[in-house]
């Protein structure tokens, strides 16, 4: 009775994904399809990061590392071991979830900034290990010729237009998972932790185990995205697992709106596309992009989705006040 009755959320999402599913039917150029698939891959990573930063209030900076682990797991298993992509992909997700568990067991002994810095170090180490472990990962030369996703139900996923649907389905699954998590009893406890760890603890929440599970979900989603990336790009270099990637994804998330459901997709879409257009400026692109970012932080610190949420909140508040006046 207290939850606002009208929630456009689910319907809007269904509409967005339905429209997105129509894109390949328009037979767009390879460039458009490539941008769309990349946006979907990176927004998944942003969703994973959002589970931690947006919903749990923790900023881990090892996400590119887990993205890399997911990508290399798929790459190594399909290229060197001859596994089917559809088996290697889940394996990558499981390995990333377990990696998240291991990281959390140690990293959650620290809090706040120390946690971020610790995980940043872990992220660097993951990228270094990938770079140096020649026999497994191909080291500096990278992993060349990762096969595309194998056909399923007679659909040839080596074609971009078809693989587009794999990425779209993975993104839809990610959004669904994140939305359900946020709306759940478990998710409310995460929000409590975000609001104040000590308060959550004294309210009876097992903070440590909730943070661990949130981190596992978060890294598993990074692995999910990494798997799509490996099969799509076909070439893996260790740089993709480095901190630059983490901070790029963090940028997507900040622009889109931390802690919002639409933010990761919105932010990734806008920033990724904008950077494509600014690419012509080469190194100067950041001269244009930097000030835009400053403006955004000044006027919309909650990101683009945050602007919408704020307007929404004002409307709800006004309605509540009217209701009080009537009573």
């Amino acid at each position: 009775m207290t939850r606002s009755g009208f929630k456009p959320g689910p319907l809007v999402w269904v509409a967005v994904f339905a429209l997105a599913a129509l894109l390949p039917l328009l037979q767009p150029g390879g460039f458009v399809l490539d941008v769309a698939i990349n946006v979907m891959i990176w927004s998944m990573v942003a969703y994973g990061l959002n589970v931690m930063l947006g919903y749990t209030g923790q900023l881990p900076l090892a996400h590119a590392g887990f993205f890399g682990i997911g990508a290399y797991t798929v790459g190594i298993l399909t290229l060197k071991q001859g596994w089917n992509f559809w088996l290697a992909w889940p394996a990558a997700i499981v390995i990333c979830a377990l990696g998240g568990l291991l990281l959390g067991l140690v990293a959650f002994r620290t809090k706040g900034d120390a946690f971020s810095i610790f995980t940043l170090g872990v992220g660097v180490i993951i990228a270094l290990v990938i770079n140096k472990w020649d026999s497994l990962t191909g080291g500096n030369d990278g992993l060349n010729g990762v096969p595309p996703a194998s056909s399923l139900f007679g659909i040839d996923f080596s074609r971009s237009a078809n693989f587009y649907y794999v990425a779209l389905a993975a993104l839809a699954l990610t959004v669904l998972i994140v939305a359900r998590t946020r709306q759940s009893v478990f998710g409310r406890s995460l929000v409590a932790i975000r609001g104040g760890e000590d308060l959550a603890r004294s309210a009876g929440i097992d903070v440590y185990s909730h943070k661990l599970r949130a981190l596992m979900l978060s890294t598993a989603i990074a692995g999910l995205a990494g798997g799509v990336y490996a099969a799509y790009v076909g070439f893996l270099g260790s740089a993709v697992a480095g901190p630059t990637t983490t901070f790029t994804v963090l940028l997507y998330l900040l622009v889109g709106g931390v802690g919002t459901l639409a933010g990761p997709l919105l932010g990734t879409g806008i920033v990724y596309v904008a950077l494509q257009f600014l690419k012509g400026l080469q190194d100067y692109q950041y001269i244009v992009f930097g000030p835009l970012l400053v403006l955004l932080v000044l006027f919309a610190p909650q990101g683009l989705a945050g602007l919408w949420d704020r307007a929404q909140a004002r409307r709800v508040q006004a309605r509540a006040e009217r209701a009080v006046d009537h009573a």
Binding site: V185, F186, G195, L199, G204
Partner: protein, 283 residues
């Protein structure tokens, strides 16, 4: 209630904690009688809040034992202590100001639910049941503190007193036997304090046991059935308000360190009488 009237709900034995060389709480042995209001008082820095932090599992004691309903809870973690039936509120209005009043109370109910991440992802029956029970439990708690009508409002939009009530509702949602209130009347005006005293009495009338740390002597003298006095981390007296206010060690502790110590006796008792009549007017 099921227990014998004489059996204490909570017993602490030789309880102590050291921070470096400092004995914040030292060798405290005390017990809380069930369905009574026990006030923990003492001059600033006497270790009152630390005492609460020890009971609620926030700090691990360096010596002594804590028993709750006969069970040793000394080494339990905070969420386990809450699960056993001890809930607390904080000195300042520590609540989730940006969340709704209902959400605050539902967070307090979390300890009574088991749903995890898989339940969330698969929308299991347990998830749906837990969600429903959280809502019901939270609404019951809000009704007890008189906030049921404001469940949908952001908690930060409430008055100071309202926010205190949200904090109490959050604690009550965990369905506790023992409620620890850390300076519940801090920052409240006299009228709000009287309202709060009425609420605490109601809760105890409903079978709850309350322990509170408080500086306002009018509240302590008017409300407490039993008073424990801490000084320099040690217990120097325990008894009824009348006994404690005549205790030479207590008078010494308050007069020794504080000019306001004199308020403990008569003016305090008078204050409690006054608040009692105001309370009557409200009821």
């Amino acid at each position: 209630m099921p227990e014998h009237p004489g059996t204490p709900l909570l017993e602490v034995e030789g309880l102590g904690i050291r921070f470096g060389g400092l004995h914040a709480v030292r060798d405290v042995t005390a017990s809380l009688p069930p369905e009574r209001i026990t006030a923990i008082i003492g001059p600033n820095g006497a270790g009152k809040s630390t005492f609460f932090n020890l009971i609620s599992g926030f700090y691990a004691p360096t010596s002594g034992r804590i028993r709750f309903q006969g069970e040793d809870i000394t080494r339990l973690k905070t969420h386990q202590v809450v699960g056993r039936g001890i809930a607390r509120t904080f000195q300042t209005t520590t609540i989730y100001k940006e969340l709704s009043v209902l959400d605050n109370a539902m967070i307090g109910h979390r300890v009574r639910t088991r749903s995890g991440l898989w339940d969330a992802l698969l929308r299991t029956g347990r998830e749906q049941r837990d969600e429903r029970e959280s809502r019901d439990g939270a609404m019951r708690a809000l009704e007890r503190v008189g906030l049921a009508g404001q469940a949908g409002r952001p908690a930060g939009a409430l008055t100071q007193e309202g926010q205190k009530r949200v904090g109490i509702a959050m604690a009550l949602s965990s369905d506790p036997r023992l409620l620890l209130l850390d300076e519940p009347a801090a920052g409240m005006n006299p009228e709000e304090t009287v309202n709060l005293m009425g609420l605490i009495r109601e809760l105890v009338g409903g079978g709850l046991t309350v322990a509170l740390v408080e500086h306002k002597m009018s509240l302590v003298m008017g409300l407490a059935d039993e008073i424990v006095v801490l000084h320099h981390g040690q217990k120097i007296a325990q008894g009824t308000p009348g006994e404690v206010s005549r205790d030479p060690a207590v008078i010494e502790a308050y007069l020794g360190g504080h000019a306001h110590g004199g308020q403990m006796g008569q003016p305090g008792a008078a204050g409690s009488g006054a608040s009692g009549t105001e309370e009557g007017a409200h009821a």
